[in-house]
Amino acid sequence: MKRYTLLFSALAAPSAVHATVFMSPEQAQAVMFPGEVLRPDPRQLSDDQVSAIRKASGESPLHRDLKVWRASSGGWFIVDEVVGKHEFITLALALDATGAVKSVEILDYREAYGSQVRDPRWRAQFAGKRAGQSLQLGHEVKNISGATLSSKHVTDGVRRLLATYAIVLAHNS
């Protein structure tokens, strides 16, 4: 048993070595809501909410636990994950008090290529987007050639979190 544990640890080790964490949630909060105080406001998604999010966005939440903070200005800060080529990509979404996207940050990215999703000009395409609006890669959001999977999943993730805001947070704040 110990031998298998060691083998698995050895295989998992490269990711630990190469894991690239660009920002902690606290650092992202400071960048996305400068000068504001944020208080944790975690939520647990119900079955009905998961179904509603899937119906509204076309994407299924990966986790039931929703990591949410409320800003003193009334905005929202959400940390979530999307599927990368091999591992999850952690992102942070900042919404203003009306539910429009302020900004998107990539907190960690562990893949060998595709990290162009961190490009501020690409992420700026999400600013102002709201739940209910079309948000598709190749349409409202430009594809990054050579980073298609990452840019698709970040786009899908933002659309899912906007739906999550509309269903879970907007009327229950």
């Binding site: 490269p14 999850f88 060998a112 050579g146 999977l149």
Partner: protein, 306 residues
């Protein structure tokens, strides 16, 4: 005896894989089936494949095919590659009616029917191009299409292998269904039955149809199954069919940031039937054991992205 040889062959596979762990490739989810994934522009991968093929009609048979490959992303949708192939084989009383016979890659060898045959040889070099016509990630239907061409050139072997690669993704692209249709006309220099002591070029066409499903069940890890039908014709116009075999089995894939490994195992299913050009004695118990077919195949692919 057979177990001993198998263990030694497996050790050779493991040693080869270990020695080549500095190499890597285009992130295959399957052992045999290709997906529409291509390297991004300017990226280079090195891959090492080792395939163990064993058990024939009777006696003992172990063959190890080795491939070393370098891939390059010419554009984000066009990947090219160069590779070299070699083969090692050890066989005894493995063929039709218990005669010792060489595998297809070394078909020009003529061991005696009771010889203990062992040989290893560099067989060919090949080039490969995969053009992704349609990305499964950029369309709502999740369907991808790619075209593959691979000309191979050896002293006794010439082939152009072509494939149509289809792919559909599900579940956040974690479930991948892929299908391949392969058409590969080839020439092999073999002893000429009508002119003893001389060789002649034999025409053959391989056509394969395969389908597989891969699911990423944990970060970095995918599990897959694949089913392949391999058919051979002793002509270039789909006449004189000689073999049709079905192989099925699982694969496990590990994909790290720079390194990947895929291990697959295929077993021939008892679905083989006799055709106009089938070799007498090569089909036993609804399995075909002609010179390019065996009971099982283990394949390890390892790769490294530079």
């Amino acid at each position: 005896m057979r177990i001993g040889v198998t263990i030694r062959a497996a050790a050779f596979v493991a040693a080869s894989a270990s020695l080549s762990s500095a190499a890597h490739a285009g992130e295959p989810l399957f052992g045999y089936i290709y997906t529409t994934d291509t390297l991004p522009k300017g990226k280079v991968e090195v891959e090492q494949w080792v395939t163990l093929r064993n058990e024939k009609v009777a006696g003992s048979f172990n063959q190890i095919d080795e491939r070393t490959e370098v891939e390059y992303g010419l554009t984000d949708n066009l990947q090219v590659a160069l590779y070299a192939d070699a083969t090692w084989v050890k066989a005894y009383h493995n063929g039709p009616f218990g005669q010792t016979t060489p595998p297809e890659r070394l078909v020009y060898d003529t061991p005696g029917p009771d010889d203990h045959y062992e040989n290893s040889r560099f067989t060919d070099v090949a080039a490969e191009a995969i053009w992704r016509v349609r990305s499964p990630l950029l369309h709502k239907d999740g369907i991808g299409v790619a075209l593959y061409v691979e000309p191979s050139w050896g002293a006794r072997f010439r082939e152009v292998e072509t494939k149509l690669i289809l792919q559909k993704n599900f579940l956040d692209d974690r479930l991948v269904i892929a299908a391949n249709v392969t058409y590969a006309p080839e020439y092999r220099l073999v002893p000429d039955d009508n002119n003893p002591g001389h060789n002649g070029w034999q025409e053959e066409t391989d056509t394969n149809i395969g389908i597989g499903a891969s699911y990423r069940f944990a970060p970095k890890w995918s599990a897959a199954v694949e089913l392949n039908n391999e058919r051979e014709f002793n002509s270039l116009n789909f006449t004189h069919e000689s073999n049709s075999a079905y192989f099925f089995g699982p694969s496990i894939h590990f994909g790290g940031r720079k390194f990947f490994a895929t291990l697959s195992y295929l077993e021939q299913l008892p679905w083989a039937t006799t055709h106009s050009d089938s070799v007498d004695g090569a089909i036993v118990g609804c399995h075909t054991y002609d010179n390019d077919f065996e009971q099982r195949r283990f394949r390890l692919k390892v790769g490294y992205l530079f």
